[in-house]
Amino acid sequence: MALWLPRLSTDRLTRLIVSPDRAALAKTPLVVAGRANNALYVYALNKAAVRAGIYHGQPLANARAMIQTLKIVPADEKRDAELLEGIADWCDRFTPLVALDSPQGLLLDITGVTHLFGGEEAMLSLARAKIAAQGFAVQGAIADTCLAARALARHANGTVAPPDENARMLAPLPVAALDCNEDIMRALRRAGLKTIAQVAERGRAELASRFGGGFVTRLDVMLGRHEKPLAPRRPLPDFRAEQRFAEPVITKDVIAASLHTLATSLSGMLEREDQVLRHLEAFFFRANGKVERIAIRTGAPLRDPAVMLRLLDERLDALAGPLDPGFGFDVIRLEASLTEKNEIVTASFDDNENSRWQIAFLVDRLAARFGEHRVQRFVAQDTHIPEAQSATIPAQERDFTGTWMRRRKDDDPPLRPLRLLERPEEISAPLFMAQEGAPRRFRWRKADFHVVRAEGPERIAMEWWKKDGLTRDYFRIETDQGLRFWLYRDGLHREAGLHSRWYLQGIFA
């Protein structure tokens, strides 16, 4: 059985809306916009949009020109894929053999199960009705082979091809149902062969010499002469180690010993393939069927079994309750669910380099214990605005760019303080001052300060394309007590007049 959800992306969006509005929404043309070659195009669209004359692959600007009220949502292929997975899971109720036919279809091997649902016709209707009730447009068909079912689902919705009659059912379908590449389709169209029947009538040698043996095989498969097995839905991870126990294990020691064995063997596998892992998963299958799953992400590439175990320990310790073995685990499995090629790192005599690795490991341990988003690091942002020059991201994240401002020479004093106040605090400075000078004294947090040295100004204009702001003149100053502050005047004389405000933004260590 093949199922096809032609409006998966738009239906997903529509389903998010509560029902009374949903009917109204169904009438509004809605498109999902994808991006290709720096131009937006129509990636998916709802029925109303089709009715309005918009089509798949149309440049978005043209579509917008056709309908002023067009609702446009950016494409989210990941969400769509997740949703399709979800529907596939749900289809488990019909048969355990469900395959994804991405991006919008599912294939179900229903050999030998149809009688449970009252026959093929009834089963197809049931599947379509149930999915439709969830708010999805769905088409489906049943045939002897996947390819035939797929073609029928897309081009002759609701067909149940009687056994051995694929060819007859497929005959009137357009050549598009062959679902071969654009080049072949065009060649067929150009030759005036518009239906599958017209193609099927021609000699196999004639077709093979033009479109290759693959095409002929495909045609024959579709017409029911060969069959290919369904591909499994979830690819198995490349690296996993599993231990099955004759008796369910309960004691911590045994579990720890088992993990040790598994980690060592996983490490061995990785080493043979010259891989390192970035994502480690541990599964504890309880005898009663429940599965405990622990996932760990690492910032530093990992292969050392001892490190794996320490990270697992951190996580296990951090769980709210201890790992509950119930009546014991009968299977424990370790999977390397994300791996990458090992970049050879030459061992370094440099302490800096070694401590970098230690920090990475510390970060991984902390993240394993507190959660990935709890451990953050600063990254440099490329801007002149002081308070926007740093941002935080999860510390395990490796992909970041940006360089910190450098000092010009090693012995130069720092141009800016390391730490800034949460937000600049206004200080009271004498109202009238010489043009472009720093204040002689000021009052901050109810204390008076006398400035003995000052350097500046550093003039920083705001980013005019974001919001309007005044230009700031920054000064580094030292008070008579030896305190060093970073002050600025908000606004040049020509912008703010003589009465500009003063702020204290940072303190030099």
Partner: protein, 1071 residues
Amino acid sequence: MTVPAYAELAVTTNFSFLRGASHPKDLVERAAELGLDGIGIADRNSLAGVVRAHETWKKLEPDTPLKLLIGARLVFRDGTPDILAYPKDRKAYARLCRLLTIGKLRAPKGECFLDLADLEEKNRRGLLLIVIPPANPEEAKPVLAFLGRDTWLAASMLYTGEDRRRLRTLKQVARTACVPLIAVNDVLYHNPGERDLQDVVTCIREHMGLHEAGRLLEANAERHLKTPEEMARLFRQSPEAIEETLRFAGVIRFSLSELGQRYPREPVPRGKTPDGHLRDLTEEGLKRRYPKGVPDKVLELAEKELRFIAEKRIAHYFLTVHDIVQFARNKNILCQGRGSAANSVVCYALHVTSVDPMEIDVLFERFLNTERSEPPDIDVDFEHERREEVIQYVYRRYGKRRAALTATVICYRPRSAIREVGKVFGLSEDVTGKLADTVWGHHGDDISDAQVRQGEQDPHNAIVKRAVGFAKRLLGFPRHLSQHVGGFVLTRDKLDWTVPIGPAAMEDRFFIEWDKDDLDTLKIMKVDVLALGMLTCIRKAFALIRAHENVAEEKLTLAMEPTDPTVYEMLCKADAVGVFQVESRAQMNMLPRLQPRKLYDLVVEVAIVRPGPIQGGMVHPYLKRRKQKRENPDTVFGIPKPDKRFDQNELMPVLEKTLGIPLFQEQAMKMAIVAAQFTPDEANGLRRAMATFRHMGTIGSFEQKFIGGMTRRGYELGFAEACFEQIKGFGSYGFPESHAASFALLVYVSAWIKKYHPAAFAAALLNSQPMGFYAPAEIVRCARDNGKVNVLPPDAAYSDWDCTIERDEKGRLCLRLGLRQIDSFSEAEAQTVMHERGFGYRDFADFVRRTGLSKRALVILAEADALRGFGLDRREGLWAVRRLPDDKPLPLFARLSAPEQGLEQIAPLPQMPLSEHVLTDYQTIRLSLKAYPTQFLRSRFDEEGFVSCQSVGAFADGDFVRCAGIVLVRQRPGEGTAIFITLSDETGICNVVVWERTFARFRKEVMGARLLLVEGKVQKSPEGVIHLMAERMTDRSADLRLLSGDALPPVAPTHRHPRNVRVLPPSRDFH
């Protein structure tokens, strides 16, 4: 306290492309305003902007103490800090030019590779150098030590937070290196308000959005010109650095005024002076021109010109032009002089021009002005396909260091500006593309709200508004330098002593950094070697006629005698598709009204549909008088007269020939002299003021003088105003009588070929593409309908690359379309087909084996239905090609021994419907000989009540009709307020006029539709010109999809030249 004085020496203009954010003019004017004592223009490895600065400064000079210093900012590839270089004198200037030339010749086009080593002693003598210190000033020490004397170290106070600390270090560095410290502000724009624009151009340069550019942008807005007081305040710790700027400026004596051309000496026979040689050549030439004896008037004129040439010592220039033309003639390259040169008897005698001075009044003043010391300007057109030979000849003759092409400054236009600015603001390309597409053509100097709305964007959307705002400010900014089409500068000395030369994108081409306006400013002569497609076309047509038509050679020379009434008859009927200059819609409308009967009428015809006469409102009065004259040849027309104090007939000699109505630029200029009492020099100044945008400021005073001058002498105010409007119109598209006269002859010749040899004419036009207004489809249609030519499709079995003439079984001449008509089929492949053909191909298999064409090429041929010669129609052809093995590089000779595929017996494929054939024809060869697309839609159109194009003429004036057709051409003549659209269907064509206001409403339809429905009123003129005045328009392009089962992609507006516009998009079946 003394008043501070300061000269700014580090100024970057927008000729440092995408770095500076102000025009040189603005910078110089601002510097004068601020009271600076000097301004030094130093662009990045370039002198491209200095002439404009010089020109502005020249105007200000009398009233300002400002001194202009000419220099360049040397930017090195070896990590050396930037150095500003200012030449002390002319010799040092030559060294600077040479230095930049060396750098440019090392680098690809538009770049300059310099190393510090290039500044060795012999190159830098006389150059004053200012080193811009790097981030760590200590690193400047070795450079300062290397450079030695005449070197300064720059210091700037740009609010970095440590200015004073840095200044102290710089002082130390300067002291140890024994060089003076000099203050600069490293200026990028004239006003602090331009900071945002500077940020935008930085982003364009770095291909970044504003949000990602970060610290690539300047931190503040301080890099503008500052007053001496402000600079003195900033440098209060080192006032000597400020004083140094004046000392620096004081040392420099060089000014661009010292440049001037040293024109190369042409070889002269032993014992003769150049003037004597020119005189001999002229006399010889005149004898050839007038075999029956040279008329006295001509002799007199020639004498006057020769005297003048001798006095101005420009005989060499004429000898150069003569030599180039001589070369072309020896090589059988057609050429013809045009422009002001046609005003010269000497040029006529030297066979540079073909306008007989007996027939057209030559206006010596227009050509050579005794008062102005400007160089003459001779433009010569050559066949466009063979001009390169002439160019290479010039290089060979003068050497690459003495000859180079002029530059063209490519500026931001609305389309390029909005595209690039849009990107900076993060607008996606489809949005900026839409905005850009609403701009008509490449030119224009504004982006209006209406256009933004037409681009389906909200002009009030903040981002769009901002982007459009910046795009407007960017208009007119130079973007890059490119080579001028053919303006050559020649010098006796090395040219790179006057201006830097760099390589062009084309191999073996070099161009200088200045454009023609710059050269005019500096009074440097140039020779224009231009390209004209029609000359190519004429030569090709003659070659075809000689080869295929058994025409006596004497008959062909008749083409040059512009007297045949049948040729004029054809033009009067507006049958002018493909004819030079008069094939545009506006010209075709004019032809039946003007009724040209002799060459001079064609001169008028060419010149009248121009902004000048149109803006001056002279067209209708002239046509009216012509009509009267036709009806009553004895009519005498009055001319505008001054009041009684003056000669009542003073304008008679000026206006006589054009029935008392001024039409030509020469007439307007003469009127300025005669009626408004301008001196010839002033009149010429007026013409020049109009010709270039950057002189706009001076127009007001001319206007007063002109109108005032005429009314004071008793002319009517309205007439004076109209004349001035006309002069303004001439400004942007100067089209003098002499120019029109040069062109008129080509109009006649091309019309003659069209009339008597339509097949050869069409073939030559097609073989000279791209040229002219019309797409191949229209040229072919015209040949079939008006010329009764039998046209045969391109066919691999018979066609050459070019279109050819052949005779069918009955011996009639036919036009065989060439393989060049097939989109994507390459000339090399066509050459193989021709080369291997011999006595013909046996069958398709034979063709495939012998030509060894790639499968892609064969698919293209089959797709274009060009295999019928082998008995395969489009479908069969494609099916057969599909069977061939895929291309793989066969080893040498393997092709010969490759096994042949066995013959295949297959069932016939379904017939392709005619409509689909037509559709595919349009997709592959852009025309169909089988049928017209609209005829398949006719029944549908009938149901909806649309009339055919031809039947529009059958309606009465004022009737309301609805007519749908394929859009052939859209035109908007220069300054016109109307848009012309030509619709066509299987019955003929229909001329639609859209007024500006209607256009504004239906812009999208007009610009985008391939199949357009027009509703409006029929308008008929007494001369039989029929127009459909559009009131409503609908895009019916979608109907074209009905021709095939395959849905066509919808129409996206594309604005290429009308002849490139496709009726249908190319099939996506290959590429």
